[in-house]
């Protein structure tokens, strides 16, 4: 088919951030489907809870301390995450390198406390349906924590190699920061369901 040129796109930029990029939209799509997974798992928790005369079935509600600590740590991590995203958009390689190391540490810290959260549920997964669904919810979120921390570690290493100063790396850092917000925010309803619903009755 014959063609005629009507537009020149040469002046357009070759790198961008946020909703102007494909990866940002891909990240949003993955957040949506994973968020749906969380919502369904929480729905299953509520479904099983409605069927029981008492909930938890035979034990007191989970110990609040480790879960609350994780919540506080995650909320605190949102602050440097905000700055890291900001520095990435400014192509400030020095601050970005420091920022991803800080975010790696702030990702590992809640994982360490998470190890104490499972015993704080007071029951194993194979005791009854309450144990099964609480371990399931906590396990689901832990998987997200682990994968994002892994991703952040790879980025931290990549940034100190010669590939680190390529503009696209800054977009990667920005998208990784956006995903971390999802890890933090998705925890809040799960924290409420796991720790406060059994107390509300």
């Amino acid at each position: 088919m014959k063609t005629r040129v009507v537009l020149n796109v040469a002046p357009l930029p070759e790198n961008a951030f946020g909703s102007r990029t494909l990866t940002w939209w891909g990240t949003i799509a993955f957040m949506s489907l994973e968020g749906m997974g969380f919502a369904l798992a929480a729905g299953a928790y509520l479904y099983l809870r409605v069927l029981q005369p008492s909930w938890p079935m035979n034990i007191p509600p989970p110990d609040l301390l480790p879960g609350t600590l994780v919540t506080i740590l995650l909320l605190i991590s949102a602050v440097p995450n905000y700055f890291l995203e900001h520095w990435a958009r400014a192509y400030d390689i020095g601050k970005v390198r420091i920022g991803v190391v800080v975010m790696t540490l702030l990702g590992i810290a809640p994982l360490v406390v998470r190890a104490f959260e499972f015993p704080a549920l007071r029951e194993r997964w194979d005791t009854d349906a309450y144990g099964s669904i609480t371990w399931f919810l906590l396990g689901l979120h832990t998987t997200h924590l682990l994968t994002d921390v892994g991703d952040t570690i790879v980025l931290a290493v990549l940034l100190v190699t010669r590939h680190g100063e390529v503009p696209k790396r800054f977009t990667d850092v920005s998208d990784n920061a956006a995903y971390w917000y999802f890890v933090v925010l998705s925890w809040l309803p799960i924290y409420f369901v796991l720790y406060w619903l059994p107390r509300i009755g």
């Binding site: 088919m1 005629r4 040129v5 949506s32 299953a44 005791t127 371990w135 990549l158 390529v166």
Partner: protein, 635 residues
Amino acid sequence: MSAAAERLRDTDIGEPELEARLVDIWKTPRGFFGWLSSVDHQQIALRYIVTAFFFMALAGIGAVLMRLQLATPDAHVLGPDRYDQLFTMHGSTMMFLFAVPIMEAFAVYLVPLMIGTRNVAFPRLNAFGFWLYLFGGLFLWCCFFSNNGPDVGWFSYTPLSLTQYNVGHRADFWAQMITYTEVSGLAVAVEIIVTTFKMRAPGMSLERIPIFVWGSLVTAFMILFAMPSVMVASTMLILDREVNTHFFDVALGGDNILFQHLFWFFGHPEVYFIFIPATAFVSSIIPTFARRPMFGQAAVVLSLIATAFLSFGLWVHHMFVTGLPRLGESFFTASSMAIAVPSGIQIFCWIATLWSGRPVFRTPLLFVLGFIFNFVIGGLTGVMVASVPIDTQVHDTYFVVAHFHYVLIGGSVFPLIAAVYYWFPKVSGRMLSETLGRWNFWIAFVGFNVAFFPMHILGLEGMPRRIYTYSADMPWGPLNFLSTVGAVIFALSFLLLLWNMIRSGLHGEAAGPNPWDGDTLEWATPSPPPPQNFTRIPVVTGAAPVWENREALPVIAGMSAGKREILVSTLTEAEPDVRETSPEPSIWPLFAAIAVGVTFLWSIYTPWAIVYGAIPIAVTLTGWFWPKNTTEDES
């Protein structure tokens, strides 16, 4: 590549050189290793399509065997155990390994061409999804051929699928096949959404998006929100079976109806992620052969969206006989009937388009007309079984088998075959034989109706589903025999299609770029399309860009002629915004799929596989994302 070559723009060189350079940049590397590394959406879509038809053939042969067993009373073609495995394999394969993947595969092939871009948004994810799907399907069929096929129905209800009723690993194989195929399906959904949102050619604002692309987009969103549900269900099932959780163990606080809710919250939308792309095929084909734009294009698009929303509100109609509260039954009856409204709107728009056009009755249109006839029957019985009293009577009978085959085959496979006839010339560069096509249609139409219409009557006569035989004193023999004759005829129609594809692929008439005079952008590029899809990205001026620009297609300039570059545009107006690089071929998606596949398989035998398997998965994913000194990675 030299720095000067990297900076080369399409404005710096002439048309023939530009075309040669782009082909060189976008082509899949030579050799077996290159073939395994491909990230070309055309190639991966074709692999999906061939694999999906292969699985369909296996499941179809299974269906014919089941029909031969049921053709006469007290037959001995299959024993009860093999029959149980076969109907489970048939349903699971048709739904998870054929219907959903093939609809997604058509989207992977057509969406980039229809919106005027060069690849899908995440080409390596696309390759990864295909390999995982292939491994999942082969794994399931290997289990079947080693007499370990799942035997608990395509929905694997608990408690039947729990360890006390299902020893061994048969139900685990089903559950893990779900995981493989759902990861693959979700990957494609993400790609289609982002590709459609951000990679449309300049000027393709929302109202100018072709209906097929709308259908693919709506379906991708449905997959995004429905598939996690079956993944949660199948994961809980395998956890109950392997590590003694109690999600479905009533004695320890679990509940079997929970499994049904989770399954059907996915399962009902699943019907529509087979059906919506099919209607989108129809809405692409009808305007071409009616020689006029689609009547009520906006109404059709809104109907697709309405269908998608409503489809999430009717899953409980699959569970009417589980003893639900009356209020719930009434609500889901109403919503099940309501979904007939947007489907009805589409049917009226198709009829209006044909009525006011100048229809040319070529094979694709014949299959579309066959679809309308069959689907109306399936839709009518659908409205019948939406009513609780009727559903209670015919539940688990052949009436329901007839209903959903009319919906799924009549409503989806007929449009799919129409789509094969319609786009085969684009893919291969050759026309399918029209004579064989007409034979194909009539044999399929007659065979299908002879096979499935009698099942309505059998169901009303009380013949239950999933029985491997029946005694001679039941009045079901003659209609079952007739149904088997129809099934064999229907199967022959697929052999004829295969023969037509082979024969025409080798010796068919050359198609040229636009053999049907279609109006969407895939017809503005050669058949088969070059690896870059378009040498120059088109500019869209209306809803029918090819019909509106018959003299010369408006295009853009200023793209790179030295690396894989795509144009990112804005969400609603599709204004050009950023020039981004697109990933090069890579072997890592295959390695990652092997690592993930082995981990899933291993986890059937020990939960520690997830821990050990995480290591190769992390290594391969890092390899996938780590920059490789290419222009695309470093620019």
